[in-house]
Symmetry: C2
Subunit: 229 residues, 2 copies
């Protein structure tokens, strides 16, 4: 048992306010890490995510919480950052237009920067490559390549520290993620996954994120607490 | 010969306003790329860099110029982003406190994001690993690891495109960089390298960046056009 007085290992946990990252945070906490929640406002159209990320961070007892700003809307190229590109409401072929160029590279880069300053050698990200939207930067081969790069990128790594990128959800189905999170006491009613949630966080029910989430609760035979509009 | 009407290959060029990145931009242009200049305001204390970056971009004829904001001062951990940490004015052992955690990971990540939207498969960065401050993310092994990661990070790379990270200065001495730039017509008087330049861009002459730059002009037997205060 870890004593509450022992200095726990630190982890930076990327939290978006959605179902997956909330579960990743709960898992990091269960594993005994002192968690530092990092949320990035990258200009996403679903602003309710940001409020949800803060709620989740508080509910799951982060040691510290940081909201960083990175305006990817000036780059565009995605339905999530360019208001002139519609969020698809039916399944599409291939990588959907909700893909955001280099998003996870940047989110992990920010986490790496903060982790180095905190002397936290662990970073958690809630990517999953089973019930997902096909984003290339959610796949294990991307995460491995980022971790390899991180070993060469920082002063800490030159000095012999190793950053570990934890992806506890990467091989889980959405139903398994939900079952795991429910066992850990995650309150999914305060999370927001919808790509076009309204200001109160109510979900559309038809975008890719909503479809995956709703199907996950169905497969897990769990009540779906999502507020739909 | 490349016809001016032919559609040239595009490159995103990271420009900081300093000597190295200005030379990298001149080299990219000489190689026939249509250049898209990206400058990142990451909260650096040497704000005169940002104005210099814009001057250089205009002087060297970029196709487009983008200034992005990324407030690393909220993370700190560097003399360049934390005003309470002094910039060293004498040589120090090891990696200096002017190292900024994960800076080049983030700068290249932003360049990658814009490059994907532009369909520019080339990114130029003016790192050099000879007359440099020992920053880990200026070394060839870091750049190679980033390039490998980029092949797995983006929709474009999944679809068969390859992003090339160009580091035309990486094996050049500061004197060689200056000689090369002068041949290409770079006006170094409008560049700012100093870590603590004043608002008019006048250099301190004693920080690491100033020492490397001044020694470079000396070794190149070129007049140093730097305005010192």
């Amino acid at each position: 048992m870890r004593s509450p007085d022992a200095s726990p290992r630190r982890a930076v946990v990327l939290i978006s306010g959605g179902l997956d990252s909330s579960t990743a945070l709960a898992i990091a906490r269960e594993q005994g890490y002192a968690c530092y929640g990092l949320c990035v406002d990258y200009g996403q159209r679903h602003r309710a995510e940001l409020a949800a990320a803060h709620r989740i961070a508080i509910a799951l007892g982060v040691r510290d919480y940081k909201l960083m700003h990175l305006d990817l809307s000036t780059i565009g190229g995605s339905a999530l950052t360019d208001p002139t590109v519609a969020v698809p409401e039916t399944p599409t072929e291939g990588i959907p237009v909700t893909y955001v160029p280099a998003r996870n590279t940047l989110l992990l880069g920010l986490a790496l920067a903060w982790a180095e300053v905190l002397e936290a050698w662990n970073i958690f990200i809630g990517v999953n490559a089973i019930d997902y939207s096909g984003y290339p930067d959610c796949r294990p081969e991307f995460i491995q390549a980022f971790e390899t790069m991180a070993q060469r990128a920082t002063k800490a790594s030159v000095e012999g520290k190793r950053f570990k990128i934890h992806t506890p959800l990467i091989e889980l189905s959405k139903a398994q993620i939900i079952e795991h999170g429910l066992r850990l006491g995650v309150d999914y009613s305060i999370t927001v996954s919808c790509y076009q949630a309204d200001d109160e966080g109510r979900a559309c029910g038809v975008c890719d994120a909503c479809r995956l989430r709703r199907a996950g609760f169905g497969s897990a035979s769990a009540a779906d607490p999502t507020p739909y509009r």
